[in-house]
Symmetry: C2
């Protein structure tokens, strides 16, 4: 029986992970290790300097659910060390995230932080995200196209040291135009903080921001593909060495 | 006058950032925006869902120091939005980290999370780390070789969308053999948690772990270069799309 590890960054109680569990049940035996609380924007962060807790919430036929007090990457480490005991599951699925992880969001994403950790452990790993932040988002498009993607993922898995970042437009299945492979779009956030004053007269800041697309005409960029109504799939490497730049600098720096 | 932004992940009071400030003073006007508290292992994490604070600690001739309640990447965003007002400084230096950021540690590193954020903003960015976790570590090797690296960085900066990860062996300057360009070494942590029991009989876990080197004979791998007594420099990309893997999967998946 295929063993599947599921995690996310919106927390064990989010709608996205419940939908993912239902979507993945036909594919194998499921172990969920997900954060107690929302861990959005946690990237591949680890919890250092304070201890972690792990709690079993549910144990049914083919489904075990644990909550972990740490980050998404902590959840994967905890699953591997305390549950799978270093014999990896056959695949890791992280999500379904409430919100896009396309373009530079992939660098901040806790959903993908978990996929990175799975990949370091040699587990074929995939992150799924829906471009809607609503807690009651409609996942029907993800469930329809997600199954096709998981079927392909199982038949032709990713190469070692690579994970997939799949982003779904916030559309009903019949409005989604299809699935396309893509590249990480270039963009950044601007106007990132909303400044307020507390009741004592001191300033504080909420992170907000607008996404600024640096290549609005690149047809390969994931965020543009999603905007056109397609599901985007990007393959990401855990080795982000720029080998060409290393050679270039090596030839001109005087060390 | 050259404008330099300094941050780190060990917090504004660490020895590493004090040493870095002294090292960088001859190079320009310095603004420090660093975390109030230690933020090790925070990767490129952002603070979402709770507000941030920014406090000016010191303002002297050519040196302004601010503390921010968030992560290293938050510090860079705060610096850009509230201090530099989106006109970027000429360079960002993050560190000097107390502990190695070679191999997969680069993926968890808050020091490099700040460098990633700087790079997204188009600021030439570099992270410096010393392979010693001691709070009173000896930075004399970093100060000597770091100056040579910063000189080169200013004369021949990195390409857009690339940042540098520099790791120094924990050796006196006369014991360091030189500086070498390198690649992100393949490795992972094992035996990652120490399990304890609290006074009420419940389990909790401290993250610890041992580094397991997956390519002990690769002469280009950063951790191996450091072990031999050299300073290692790796160029990292913020676009970690695996273009080759995208083409491969595109040709075999049935979508």
């Amino acid at each position: 029986m295929r063993k599947i590890l599921i995690t996310n960054d919106d927390g064990v109680k989010s709608k996205g992970i419940s939908q993912l569990i239902e979507m993945m049940r036909p594919f194998g035996e499921i172990t969920v290790v997900a954060p107690f609380e929302a861990q959005s924007g946690m990237s591949a962060a680890l919890t250092i300097g304070k201890p972690l807790r792990l709690t079993e919430l549910r144990s049914d036929d083919g489904l075990k659910v644990y909550a972990c007090s740490g980050t998404p990457a902590d959840c994967v480490k905890m699953a591997m060390n305390q549950i799978f005991k270093n014999v990896p599951p056959d695949m890791l699925v992280s999500g379904i995230n409430h919100g896009s992880n396309a373009s530079v969001a992939s660098l901040y994403s806790g959903t993908l932080g978990a996929a990175i950790e799975g990949t370091i452990y040699g587990i074929p790993s995939i992150g799924l995200s829906l471009c809607s932040h609503r807690p009651d988002a409609d996942f029907s498009g993800v469930l329809h196209y997600g199954k096709i993607i998981i079927d392909n993922f199982l038949q032709n898995p990713v190469s070692p040291n690579v994970y997939l970042n799949v982003n779904f437009p916030d559309l009903k299945p019949d409005k989604i135009k299809g699935i396309k492979f893509a590249q990480q779009g270039k963009g950044q956030w601007i106007k990132e903080f909303e400044q307020r004053e507390d009741p004592y007269g001191f300033k504080y800041y909420w992170m907000t921001g607008e996404f600024f697309n640096l290549e609005p005409n690149n047809e390969k960029s994931d965020n543009n593909i999603i905007d056109k109504g397609y599901v985007s799939i990007v393959a990401h490497k855990i080795d982000n060495t720029d080998y060409e730049e290393v050679r270039r600098l090596e030839s001109i720096w005087k060390l």
